[in-house]
Symmetry: C2
Amino acid sequence: MSLHRSRTMSSSSSTAAKKVLNLDSINPRVKAAKYAVRGELAVRSEEYRARLAKGEGKDLPFDTVVAANIGNPQQLDQKPITFFRQVASLLENPGLLEHEDVFTKSLGYKSDVFERARKLLKEVKSVGAYSQSQGAPGIRQSVAEYIERRDGYPANFEDIYLSNGASSGVNTLLHTICARPETGIMVPIPQYPLYTATLSVLHTRCVPYYLNEEHAWGTSLESIRTAYDKAVSEGTDVKAIAVINPGNPTGASLSAEDIKSVLVFAAERGLVVLADEVYQTNVFVGEFISFKKALRDLQKETPEEYDHIELASLHSISKGMVGECGHRGGYFELIGFEPEVAQEVYKFISIQLCPPVIGQCIVEMMVNPPKEGEPSYELYRKEYDGIFNGLKQRAYALYEAFKKMEGVVCDEPQGSMYLFPTIHLPPKAIEQAKKEGREPDEFYCFRMLDATGVCVVPGSGFGQKPGTLHFRTTFLAPGTEWTGRIVKFHQDFVAEFK
Amino acid sequence: MSLHRSRTMSSSSSTAAKKVLNLDSINPRVKAAKYAVRGELAVRSEEYRARLAKGEGKDLPFDTVVAANIGNPQQLDQKPITFFRQVASLLENPGLLEHEDVFTKSLGYKSDVFERARKLLKEVKSVGAYSQSQGAPGIRQSVAEYIERRDGYPANFEDIYLSNGASSGVNTLLHTICARPETGIMVPIPQYPLYTATLSVLHTRCVPYYLNEEHAWGTSLESIRTAYDKAVSEGTDVKAIAVINPGNPTGASLSAEDIKSVLVFAAERGLVVLADEVYQTNVFVGEFISFKKALRDLQKETPEEYDHIELASLHSISKGMVGECGHRGGYFELIGFEPEVAQEVYKFISIQLCPPVIGQCIVEMMVNPPKEGEPSYELYRKEYDGIFNGLKQRAYALYEAFKKMEGVVCDEPQGSMYLFPTIHLPPKAIEQAKKEGREPDEFYCFRMLDATGVCVVPGSGFGQKPGTLHFRTTFLAPGTEWTGRIVKFHQDFVAEFK
């Protein structure tokens, strides 16, 4: 079953000649867009999975396929947060609210589940009704309060835009900012390829700035400056800088200095700052520092220099301990945007009506979970901490496995859901890759999949400094057996290409 | 509470000068896009609603605001289909599956609810996990089977693309087809403004073709031809024709002849056909004829002439008797598309990961509802027919009310959720509109809102033949009191501008 093939047969040549649409006639910008995370490797892994499911995988050297390519926790063994799904079940079928006794006596629901469901239903009336395009006001108010608690600075619900996952928010922001083919958006390399793919579709310029591999993938002001100057010299109208913090694929948390230097640079050069902060709760080492807080701190010190900064911060229910990718929920906060621009953002999002309402409700619960003393708090805390510790444990187990692999160098895990080790491949392997028409890291990843059933994403999918090779793996898959498969594969690979 | 204003204060002039983003610097294509359905009138109606909710509406000549502007059934009194929401509640909290006895004994769930929930969970594993970008295969298979039952012709699940509502499907298809600024897409006038708004964002050309007001808003081959020829003479590369059937805002069902003539025209001129069929179950008069079936019928007769046609048909869970707008679910079927093009469609949709999974599950239930003999069938049938009859009743009640209104001409209701009466306004009213800087129908609708609390959408929001005026109202709001308000308002309006 091929995932992205539709009809199994191309048309006959006479019919094909009459088609309106072919690779040359469709939108060249769509054609140009690249999004490797769900590309060929992923497709092959799904083919293996399907074969194993049908019992047709006897010739394969593995029994199970391990999806270590996509940050999709609930596709593996991560369970949803009980409170969220209990509330969601009542939101889906509000008639159940009249049977609180049944749920509390026999089904393990506490009273605060019912309270929250009633509150959310009062807000949205029905999860089957369109909400306001910007998202239900009361939910946006909860988000504002979360931001205020997190940063110690006020937030206004009018500046919050709920979205169909953070990906949709990125799409909205880039659509708003990218005015002409010469518009440039600074994008960290390596990056989550939503950015470059969307810039391709918009036919505007990506201005790549290299993250600092030698310094735990921090931002390097020097490399930002270099990238900016080069772009400007090429006639690019650089209008924004995207930062992914904590990083994807790198997993790195930026230091306070790095964050400040981005803001200072943006202030000096007149750049909108796009802070993709969807991994803000996936931090093992140190604390998450929000761009909003860092900006407000700067503004407190020297308002005249930083008051004008435009910042958009994004968050999502897909990551963190929530892991509700399939629900498609998120938000962005606009800080320092002119009202006339915010109105255009509003208009753009209204064309697609509104974000999924049940996803909006899960955003509300993510930012406003059970509090200490509330009936569902204990279980919530236990589950949240359990997931967090489990993720940290797996990250370190994988890190330890990488230490055993010759030529593989990995930073100590800092956060997110990924490790992004550097790989140094034997020259003969690189030659073989070239023979097969593949990037070396891509070749390595295909070999890994074919030998182990483990699917990762080659570094070339995210961008990397020329001459360097990486792959991104999640540490979501349960157990340690699969990491053992990778260690063995790597041993064999190095031996083969000695 | 203003819906689309974010910060309440614009920056000081010195700060404003430093902003990167203002109306002149943002994407001009976003600026150009118009989407009136959620525009100024809707905003004012929400302000009235908010005032009444706070008890601050004593000066208003009405007690309640009636949202007759948006096809949002569950925002009014339409209840969801019980079976769908029972299944959804179990999908959200699969732990409940172990308590089937509690649900069947005390909570009114039948066994087929549990069966369906288990089947869907087997398919998606968790509604919180990303699915394949094209949508879960088993769900797409259900859609294919629905299409096959409906049309009597086979459908392949590989040609089905689940989407975030049909709106997202339209966005995907237009992105794929619109290759250059000269690309043109034929759009019916009046149209649901998603089409023109998206074409603005894409910076490609809208080629409007007028629907035939004198013939129950059918398509007019003559006006299609005229529009096409005019566009071609202007250098437009016309690549597709969009048809909304049943119509929005018109509510009209196209005849078999009209559908055939569009296909014949598309075959002759080389046009992709975009068939927006989201109202296919909202048909009061006659039968819905799908473009797929009509195409297959033509292909059976004369394959050599029609085998090459590319058709995309869209459907949604937002409309019909399902009314699950807030869940954001839908699909499109690609018929006759080259595999290489389908791959590009797949790639484009994969950038935004996947459609909301619970919405995908509701698509599955919409196309595969309880069957006769199954435990939940009786209630499903009763609810479905009840909603259908209620809609038909309300449509006719509104139609009768319009008959009492001088200068208002409305076709007998045919389907969808809307009536789109023609209004002939007194010359003095048109003058006054001009004085206030408003289109006449816009002026009329504002006056209606201010006098009655009923919010509709002026015809200018959808496009109309110059010199004609209309408004679109849904017939979703319960009761007949609100229609009485409109009748009275109109009487007073006509008297005022005599």
